[in-house]
């Protein structure tokens, strides 16, 4: 009988099992989730519940089909993280089938077709988001007006009314849906034609009522920034990719801000604190599976995402571009890895990860 179990090195004191990492990521979304729920009502919570149930069912179904231990793979919580991230990204009060379809696509096609956690080359949540955005553009761009900007006498739907709107139940009779839907800051800024940025801000309550940039959205983004900071402090990921992405966005928007002229591309603050910038920077691009591996690789990867986000936001058709930029750089990540192999101590610099053998 052994008194002390024999354990091989490294003897870490803070074990980072997959489920523990995933659990911390889930906890870190809380500030952003609270801000989303405060500003936009129950929709996001309903999204997350629907998405989690679908993701669990899909993951369990595929694992059963592949004759793998279902409980083992469900308990690593990775499907839940995908579901929560997609639930946070989808517009509140999206119809139930939208959430189901997106999550099913994310889990079954983007993750399990490739062999499950650790093999998927694309971030599953962002694949689900892009598929929905391309297939159902109207449902995906119908956002809610922040609670405090609603016109007199209109309030956000309560929990039961929200469920009636989302699920296939008889629609609530005492509710005008058009009254509380509205554009996002990025969307409305994209449709600014010929006004100076200052004038446009004064005309649009989304900006004129805001403390920093985009009413409601600034708090959502600051919430995700706080959660991401906590994850960074917990050493769940390194600073390289988020810092490179945010720096690239700040730099580009600083260059093209143009002093707030009528063709301005928007201030750095607006780009940093609107849309999915912070959710992307700390929760999506830090995914260890689909991003580049080395520190230098992560800098390139993050900067690439920042550049693509800015380019597509300003010159492309879509108001926000985090999902597209992440997929495009996921696509480039293996090549980046190939050319940024770190030098092993005591050895010459490696040229490439895979070398041609004749």
């Amino acid at each position: 009988m052994t008194l002390f179990p024999r354990v091989t090195s490294p003897h870490g004191h803070a074990p980072q099992r997959t489920d523990q990492v995933m659990l911390r990521v889930l906890l870190a979304t809380l500030p952003g989730l609270v801000a989303l729920t405060w500003n936009f009502g129950w929709g996001t919570l309903i999204n997350i519940v629907l998405a989690s149930a679908t993701a669990t069912a899909c993951e369990a179904g595929v694992m059963a089909l592949r004759k793998r231990p279902v409980r083992f793979y469900l308990s690593d919580l990775s499907a839940l993280v995908t579901a929560v991230l997609l639930g946070l990204a989808l517009p509140p009060l999206a119809p139930w089938w939208l959430v189901l379809m997106g999550v099913a696509f994310a889990i079954v096609i983007a993750k399990q077709f490739y062999g499950g956690l650790g093999y998927n080359p694309f971030n599953p949540a962002m694949v689900g988001y892009v598929v929905l955005l391309i297939s159902f553009p109207i449902e995906m761009t119908t956002w809610i007006t922040p609670r405090e900007l609603l016109p007199e006498g209109v309030s956000l739907p309560g929990l039961w009314q929200s469920l009636q709107l989302v699920l296939p139940l008889p629609a609530p009779t005492d509710l005008a849906v058009d009254a509380f839907t509205g554009a996002t800051p990025l969307d409305s800024f994209k449709h600014n034609t010929g006004l100076l940025t200052e004038q446009f801000y004064q005309q649009t309550p989304l900006f004129s009522e805001a403390e920093l940039a985009g009413f409601g959205w600034e708090w959502v983004n600051l919430g995700f920034l706080a959660g991401g900071g906590w994850l960074l402090y917990q050493r769940i990921f390194t600073w390289h990719a988020p810092a490179a992405m945010l720096a690239a966005i700040t730099l580009l928007s600083g260059i093209f801000y143009d002093g707030g002229s009528s063709t301005s591309a928007g201030s750095p603050l607006m780009h940093l604190l609107s849309g999915a910038t912070m959710l992307g920077a700390f929760f999506i691009i830090t995914d260890p599976v689909t991003s580049a591996t080395s520190n230098l690789g992560r800098l390139i990867y993050g900067a690439g995402i920042g550049i693509l986000v800015f380019v597509i936001r300003v010159w492309g058709n879509y108001p926000d571009a985090v999902a597209f930029a992440v997929l495009l750089m996921n696509f480039a990540a293996p090549l980046i890895d190939n050319y940024t192999v770190p030098r092993t101590y005591g050895h010459a610099r490696a040229k490439r990860a895979t070398v041609k053998k004749d």
């Binding site: 077709f113 062999g115 694949v127 693509l308 492309g316 879509y318 597209f324 495009l328 696509f331 293996p334």
Partner: protein, 191 residues
């Protein structure tokens, strides 16, 4: 100058031949198993595509249009492309044996790359000038090379993934190409 930049961005990203227009899929799926071969194929295609775009413009403007034979342009362009490919092959074989060893296998394959014919036909349909035509050909080749090289690096990784039996090999390659095509839709509206 700005027109030329727009043509280049359009050919490389927005109207990427492989992922948006779905042309040139055979070498895209066929030569993407290893990064080294993909890079060889990309450089050979870039060379031939640019040259083919130029010569098909010349043939169209100086031979087909004056003789009123535009309806023969598909056949004429195929002939031009085959000639350019054969000429390139012979020229490289004599002038640079090393380059020939690297590109040799891929050169004849390029004749069957429908992106090459696609560029020539689109150039005549859009009535582009000589400079625009060659730039469009070069841009199309750059876009082709970009996605082929990225895709081959990704497939090297997929080769060791625990993919379910029915999806191994070309099947997961097609699914990946589809997802990449989705990502490229984000570029729509750039030009």
């Amino acid at each position: 100058m700005q027109d030329l930049a727009i043509i280049l961005v359009s050919a490389v990203l927005v109207n990427n031949f492989v992922l948006v227009q779905f042309l040139g899929l055979c070498p895209f799926m066929g030569v993407s198993n290893k990064l080294e071969t993909a890079i060889g194929m990309s450089s050979a295609t870039t060379f031939v595509l640019t040259l083919a775009a130029m010569s098909s413009y010349l043939v169209n403007t100086w031979v087909l249009v004056p003789l009123g034979l535009e309806y023969l342009k598909t056949i004429a362009f195929i002939l031009v492309i085959a000639v350019v490919v054969q000429f390139t092959k012979m020229f490289i074989e004599k002038s640079s044996p090393l380059l020939y060893r690297v590109l040799g296998v891929f050169l004849p394959l390029i004749t069957t790359n429908c992106a090459v014919l696609g560029v020539a036909l689109q150039n005549t349909a859009k009535a582009r000038s000589f400079v625009e035509s060659s730039l469009y050909g070069f841009g199309a080749a750059l876009g082709f090379s970009l996605v082929l090289v990225l895709f081959s690096a990704m497939r090297e990784r997929l080769a060791v993934a625990d993919i379910p039996e029915p999806f191994r090999g070309p099947a997961i390659g097609m699914i990946t190409a589809g997802l990449m095509s989705l990502a490229f839709m984000g570029f729509s509206g750039l030009v």
